[in-house]
């Protein structure tokens, strides 16, 4: 895909999409302090496909929630598109979530009594600039992009797990965000559906999207170009993936 090459070098040349320095997170519940992340330094450029990998409880989701503006760091600096994000109000964070970032969750989080189309249109309700007349058209394009055209008007409760997660991916696409966060997107799926879902993310990356994947499985992390290892809340290693996997060979195997 040519777009991957035209889009990323310009962004990569100067301002990183995400730039985190000395970031730490301490949860405080009823005066009990749980430190979870320590001195995280991380830069992500637009167009990257990065995996955050580590054992369960190592702090991957916590980091992703902070990077995705669902949570705030306790200490340290987080610059997004070159701008410091400290001191943003809840409303400002909500607008960033509506326009700049999106999520794919392990548990799908689809509205069960709504159709695929309605679910994919949902983020557009909160988008400040996309006109309501364009919603359906954009949602349909996103659904087509994940290969669910024929399921457009199905209730999400009528879909298989893989189809549900692809609906969630379409939903994460529809606002054309700067970065898509996927937290264990294959965690609730069998291996074939998992590979299909990873294939969909791979395709998005190829068309220029920035993807940050959170997983505890090496086999899933290997779909990414870059793997950041987290152990006990610290970055243990940060490396380019040597043996990058692709869904195309794997799906034809079965």
């Amino acid at each position: 895909m040519p777009s991957a090459h035209t889009k990323s070098p310009r962004a990569a040349s100067r301002t990183p999409l995400i730039e985190v320095t000395k970031l730490s997170k301490v949860y405080v519940n009823d005066a009990v302090e749980t430190p979870v992340l320590f001195d995280i330094d991380l830069r992500v450029q637009s167009g990257e496909f990065m995996a955050i990998m580590g054992p369960s409880g190592s702090g991957k989701s916590t980091l992703m929630h902070i990077l995705g503006f669902l949570d705030r760091p306790t200490h340290g600096k987080y610059r997004f598109l070159g701008k410091d994000t400290a001191g943003r109000t809840d409303d400002e964070l909500a607008i960033i979530r509506a326009t700049k970032v999106s999520f794919v969750f392990q548990a799908f989080h689809l509205l069960p009594r709504a159709t695929v189309l309605e679910n994919v249109m949902l983020p557009l309700l909160y988008h400040p600039t996309i006109p309501s007349a364009e919603r359906q058209h954009r949602a349909q394009a996103a659904i087509n992009a994940v290969g669910l055209f024929e399921r457009t008007n199905f209730l999400t409760s009528q879909l298989s797990g893989g189809q549900k997660q692809r609906t969630a991916i379409a939903r994460s696409l529809v606002t054309e965000p700067q970065v898509i966060f996927a937290d264990e997107p294959t965690g609730n799926l069998d291996s074939v559906s998992g590979i299909q879902v990873m294939g969909a993310l791979e395709k998005l990356h190829a068309s220029g999207h920035t993807i940050i994947l959170v997983t505890h499985e090496r086999s899933t992390a290997e779909f990414a170009d870059r793997i950041v290892h987290i152990l006990d809340g610290r970055i243990a290693s940060d490396s380019r993936s040597h043996s990058r996997r692709s869904s195309s060979g794997l799906t034809s195997l079965k």
Binding site: L70, A94, I95, R97, P123, L125, Y126, H127, S132
Partner: protein, 404 residues
């Protein structure tokens, strides 16, 4: 989220749980129905009473002696001379002196004690009484102090049954009278007293009793009834030598009372009663509101994950607040509409029953009741929706997403 999105999402979530929704709004339905019922029944009843009074003619005024209960009171304070002088005032017309003759009435073996009114012929017009058969009393009856009598509807029926009353002879006290006419029924329970008396000429009553005072005087005012009242009051104070520079009605030995005054007293009493009943009914609306709050709290906790998701997708706290407030409002307004129809329908049925019993009872659905019901419903929705909705709006997105 624009208004259309908000309303669509509210109606969708409400209709997805129809059975629970209908049980939830029952409290609001009953509350609004009873408010509407109370206000409209109160208004209808007030209208009924005022209609009755106005059917007498709105510009009727009675001048009555002050009773013995007031110090210096004297039931004989109004004289025939007072009547003659009041008659000459320009602010009044059709002045009728009335002597109530305290004698029993016999017809054959029937022995009755209806009120016997000795009055000049204008009394029928002043009280809006209509002739059923024969003729009314007239000037010649008065001039000759004739032994003529006109019987009101109920008494004519009681005395004569289905015989023709005209030309029958009845005995009042010791004297024999000829029935010259009968009256139509006044047509309602409230005025049923008007169906009972018999009427004889004033001159006849005067000669029978030999009295020089009148029981009371009834008249029609010309123009402003306040002016008539002032003229009469001044005249009688002078004639009765009452020094009343403070204009204190307690010092007078008479009362001049217009129908308007009675009307306004009745209006304010029934209004007070209506408001009181509506407030009690309003309490049931509050109870309904607590039901709404309860169900909204359940909804918020059931949909915690959805709220987390919406926040992750970019919903601001206020978007969530508005969404759940709208749902609460949609519930209460839906309940209010049903309650409105139910309350108005019940009120209408009751008014039909009242019409059978009381006669001439009209159903009034006051716009005030409609507005009050809608406002109360919106108020209840907001009052009891705000807490659950703001609870939803404040949820932490991550905790909400994780909530099981």
């Amino acid at each position: 989220m624009n208004t259309k999105d908000i309303i669509q999402s509210a109606t969708k979530s409400i209709s997805s749980n129809a059975k629970r929704t209908s049980l939830t709004i029952l409290g609001i339905v009953i509350g609004v129905a009873s408010v509407v019922l109370m206000i409209s029944t109160g208004k209808s009843f007030q209208g009924y009473i005022l209609d009755q009074i106005n059917s007498f003619g709105s510009n009727t005024m009675d001048v009555i002696p002050k009773g013995f209960e007031k110090f210096g009171g004297n039931l004989e304070s109004l004289t025939i001379e007072d009547y003659e002088r009041i008659k000459r005032l320009s602010s009044v017309e059709r002045v009728v002196p009335v002597i109530i003759v305290n004698r029993s009435v016999h017809y054959g073996r029937e022995d009755m004690t209806p009120m016997v009114f000795g009055a000049t012929s204008d009394i029928f017009g002043n009280y809006g009484m209509k002739l059923a058969s024969g003729r009314l009393l007239d000037e010649s009856d008065e001039r000759g102090a004739q032994r003529s009598v006109v019987a009101a509807y109920q008494t004519a029926l009681d005395l004569f049954g289905n015989r023709d009353p005209i030309g029958q002879r009845i005995v009042i006290g010791e004297e024999s009278f000829t029935v010259v006419g009968t009256l139509k029924s006044a047509g309602s329970l409230l005025l049923s007293d008007l169906d009972k008396p018999v009427f004889i000429p004033f001159a006849t009553a005067r000669s029978m009793t030999g009295q020089r005072h009148v029981s009371y005087i009834t008249l029609k005012t010309v123009g402003d009834s306040d002016i008539a009242k002032r003229d009469i009051t001044e005249l009688l104070r002078t004639r009765h030598r009452i020094d009343n520079s403070q204009d204190d009605p307690d010092l007078d030995d008479f009362i001049a009372r217009s129908a308007e005054q009675v009307t306004s007293i009745i209006s304010s009493v029934t209004l007070g009663l209506t408001v009181f009943l509506a407030l009690i009914a309003g309490i049931s609306l509050l109870v309904g509101g607590i039901g709404i709050m309860n169900i909204m709290l359940v909804t918020v906790s059931e949909r915690t994950q959805e709220i987390g998701l919406r926040k992750a997708l970019g919903a601001r706290p206020r978007d969530i607040l508005i969404q759940f407030l709208t749902e609460a409002l949609a519930l209460t307004c839906g309940g209010a509409l049903v309650g409105l129809v139910l309350g108005a329908g019940t009120g209408w049925i009751l008014s039909r029953i009242a019409d059978r019993i009381l006669g001439e009872f009209h159903f009034i659905l006051s716009p005030f009741a409609l507005v009050a019901a809608i406002c109360m419903a919106v108020g209840t929705g907001l009052l009891f929706g705000v807490y659950p909705a703001s609870k939803a709006a404040r949820l932490d997105p991550i905790e909400a997403l994780r909530y099981e």
